[in-house]
Amino acid sequence: MIGVIALLAAVPFAPCTTSAQPSEDAVKAAFLPKFAHYVAWPAAAVPAGDAPFVLCIMGPDPFGRLIDAAAASESIDGRPLAVRRLGASDNGAGCQMAYLSGGERQVAQEIAALGRQPTLTVTDARAGNAHGIIHFVLSGGRVRFLIDDATAAERGIAINSRLLALAISVKQRP
């Protein structure tokens, strides 16, 4: 019993446990790399060879080292996950995933910039109403998300039903 408690103490980021309540950003940072496990990109968008999956952060980075750590701990189909912070002019080419931050307008611009690229866009309710494919919201003090499967379908992205099951709501593909 004592061992168990010791073990618990040694795991600060155990999600959703009553014993530890990590910060909103930490949770989101932990979530972001995991999404990659439940998403299938069109073959053309999958990085060639052993090239890493790329998680881009467009706009100001709210996570800092948290996201780097989370990404480092994940590997997607045996490939590493790289975090790339993009400049304002970058159109996000080569990003399999993109966390869009900033104000509502900025996020909308970022979405527009990505255009019809097969990029899994993740937006945050903190930044306003501009929705990417995955949209973080806070619900009951917990980090949850909405999924726009219709847009994902337009972009050629398939989202695993297991992930869809976790979403608060899903905009169904046509």
């Binding site: 168990v4 073990l7 618990l8 795991v11 155990a14 999600p15 959703c16 446990t17 014993s19 949770v27 979530f31 995991k34 496990h37 439940y38 590997s75 997607i76 189909d77 695993n160 297991r162 992930l163 099951a165 976790l166």
Partner: protein, 582 residues
Amino acid sequence: MKRVTRLVGRFRNAPVIGTAVLVGLLVLIGMGAIVQSEASFRSQKQQEAQVQAAILAASVVAALDFGDAATAQEAADAMRANGQMRGVGIYDRHGLRVAGFRRDAGDSPRNVQESRRLTASSESIVGEAPVMRGGERIGLVRLSVDAQPFETRVGTYLLVGLLVIMAALVVTVLGVAQGALRRANRALGERAAALVLSNAALKVQIDEREKAEEQLRQAQKMQALGLLTGGIAHDFNNLLTVIQGSADMLCRPDLKPERRLRYAEAIVQAGERAAALTRQLLAFARRQPLRPETIDVNAMVAGMIDLFDRTLGERIAIRTELSDDACVVEADRAQLASALLNIAVNARDAMPDGGTLTISTGSGRTSSDNDDMDQPMIALSVADTGAGMDAATLARAMEPFFTTKGTGKGTGLGLSQVYGFATQSGGDLRIASIPGKGTTVTLLLPSSDKPLVAEEQFQPISGSARRTGSVLLVEDNDAVGEFAESLLSELGHRVVRARSGEEALERVHGGKFDVVLTDVVMPVMSGIELAEQLATERPELRVVLTTGFSEEIALSGAGGRPVILKPYRLETLATVLDEALA
């Protein structure tokens, strides 16, 4: 056969042993099935739990990954639908409980270790599956399932056991039935063999019985023959009595001519009746019905008075009370006469010390109350003043072979024959008797209105023959031969007698004859053979046949030759010879 029996004996218990083995086998199979079922039950349940855990683990991958306890809980709660699910626990990669439920009231274990301790102490079946994401173990799902309650399983096993018992029972019954059938078959076989034996014995018995019956029939035939002979002798004795009595009277020297003639007539009549009796006997032997003729009973009785006189003796007075009306009946004359004589002789025997015999006739209708015949009848009554009969004797008087006379004196057939004659003629026989006063026997016969046929009257023969010649008489019987010789001589013929066919042939060769009168039935050479022989040697020689046994003629044929039937009358003999000499 013995070997087969021994072999059968050796395997006599085979059905019983076979049945026992089968039943044992069935029980073993049943027990094996239960044990096997019990063993496989747990492993199957275990597998099921494992599969369910795996399914749950797969469905909570994302929820665990994203720490979504609510979603994981939803997935866990979905398992509640399984009534046998005791509890479900979903643990993260660190073994801490994320979601789950426990059906009983106890606290849910907080981590895998607690859960393991909990399930270890219960006999529930545990399924455990890791939650894997991309080859990485991100958590654990544990669930425990109620083993099916033992009682339920016992119920199942009981059902199996019941089925086994029933099967065993069926097998036992079949075995026992088979055994019984074999035994029955064996018994049947033995019985069949016994039956064959008894059948053979029965056949022997039947053969013996048939032989015995044949012997009995023969004996009865002989007895009947004896009785018949006795009866005939009785009737013949009556007639002989008349003939002898009449002949004795004729021998008296100082007899008036008219009395002499009456006695001669009586002899002739008795002779005729005797001839009729033998005809009747022959007809009886050939089973030919006798021809009835119309008879005036009054005339017949009147004609028989003398006969009665001589037959009954001097101590019995005979009275007649004949009806003035014509009493015509239709019956066989000889039988009626015989019946009347029979009754009269019975009456005589009933009056050993003498008495009166009254013969009366009358006509009228029957007053019979036991049959419905209602026609004019003729009553012919014979009343005596004899001893009479008591009721018991009277009741049996008409029974065949019943007689009150001593041995050798009567056959017991007389009245029964009379009764038979009466009923055959459409009439009846009534007997009334008072002991000590006498008996009245009444013969009832249907009255007839047919014209009377004149009875052949006795005609004295004129001694003069029409033609005479040389006659060769062939007769093997000396008495008949001498009588015939005297008759022929009386008729004026020259007579030479031969005693056989051979002697006749010799005589024919040695002398000249006009006619050969030959008996038919003779030893060595019959009259017919003689006639045939003479026809080739001496065709011109006339042959006249004579026989008392007309059947011989019927069998061989007379060949167109005249035949004189014995007993013959002088007149007949004269006429036939006269024609032969013509």
